[in-house]
Amino acid sequence: MNLKTTNPALYYLQRAAFYLLVIVIAFYLLAPFLWAVLTSLRSPGDLFLPPAQFITAETTFQNYTQVFSNPNFQRGLLYSLIVAVGSVLISLLIGSFAAYALGRFRFKGKQIIMYVILAVSVFPQIAVLSGLYTLISNLGLYNNPVGLILTYLIFTIPFTVWVLTSFVRDIPGELEEAALVDGASPLQTLFQVLFPVMMPALVTTGLLAFINAWNEYLFALTFTSTNRTVPVVIANYSGATQFDQPWGPIMAASIVVTVPLIILVLVFQRNIVSGLTAGAVKG
């Protein structure tokens, strides 16, 4: 701050350099996405235009109408929603039981269980791909969203348990002791005392797990053939001929699956940062 009075020229030069850096960072973070939005609003014929003319070319929503009338895309949205919501709800339910036990109870072998759960969360998915494939076909769940819900538990459960455990630990113990003295069972205590307090944590964890499940690609690509989720549909979006990549509709579909996520992330900004750091930094 002294620099402002002692050497104003240097001060303003420093400020200018700093703001230039801010602009460069903002441009780097946002430009690719904005370019995709712009592309989704251009007609196929305008894609060849040089950038300056491309930016000012006529805006059209034809890519969006085309994408929404595509039955594969409609089905993809539906299956993505079913699979992500299903796996997140199961994980939150049984994960919160586990988190309650790990965060509040003292018992032998707790450390080992924590390490097993952590190990599963760094698991390479490919290591279980062949085992899961045979399991899924034996259960008759190939190409069935239930199969995906089941397999997605491999990453949603460790994540929810890990993050919720660190939240449970931070809840003051008095709340629960009162319930225990009144003779409430652990499940009653969990549902009636801890759940209301944990609501923000459950929403945050659920949202982060939802994002992971919504984005999953390897299992969705491998365990389904026609009942595909949205990432697989977008990855394989094809045009009229094999060599024609319909970039306009691909970008429109990409924007459609991304915008809800961005809105959710922006609305829950603070919770998300605390959820990520609880999951990653604290352990």
């Binding site: 850096l21 780097y28 652990p186 969990l190 961005i262």
Partner: protein, 309 residues
Amino acid sequence: MTVNPTAPARPVRTRGIEAARARQAIWLLLPTLIAIALVAGYPLYRTIYFSLFDANLTTPDQRTFVGLGNFWFTTDEGVSLGFLQDPKWWGAVKNTLLFTVVSVFLETVFGMIIALVVNSTFKGRGLLRTAMLVPWAIPTVVSAQMWSYMYNDSFGLIGRGLLGGQALLANTDSAIWALIAVDVWKTTSFMALLILAGLQSLPSDMYEAADMDGASKWTQFWRLTLPLLRPALLVALVFRSLDALRVFDIMSVMLGNVNAAATSMTGYARQALIDNSLLGFGSAVSVAIFLIIMVIVVIYVTAFRVKFD
């Protein structure tokens, strides 16, 4: 648990409650443990089991035991059949390691710069913090498609605009750098978020003291910020490295499954397993990837003494 000698009845009762609590804990953990055993434990066991057999994905019941033959096997005619003898596998390993080291390094440096900028006070700080979340919120497949379009040699902003019609993704050597750029763009924000959270937990009085002593901002960064940030930084590094080592999505989307097999270990394994239906061979490759990643986890945890609470 401290035992109070003047009240002999209490420790017994506490122990009774402890035992009851321990039993309850097992019941609470049971659903999670069953789910993990079903979707992780059992499939992992099956993968290891199949890696010792010659089997086809469509007929897993007709299998013959080959021991470690999927890993290393030379026929009497001198034909090499093990995947460890396949130069394509080693190419995939090399590309994955290059991808991991370069992208995690760049993400850490850029993430640090962005976090330091967002952590200082200026007009529009909230907006930049919000912008930071955007690349992270975009699904990987979507960002892969967005960048494929930008790299396209006849339409793309980068492929046609900057490079004058060069097909960056057509050749594996240039493609790996193009893929690194995508991964860095996508996950730098994640790194920046974690570093920012670490920065905000640093005590401000230490910086005031350093200011009084006349330490420059540069010295403060190297002597104070970096050492204090170490634990947060290391955990972020471990998680990012492990993510990068199992990369598959962006290769598969941007290069197609055939070229993805030459560029990532996961792509190689998936091609063997699913596209070529080689259940035993593909399982063996998966086991190798599992071992590589576990060894790296152990190295990280012991060398940097990373603590997971």
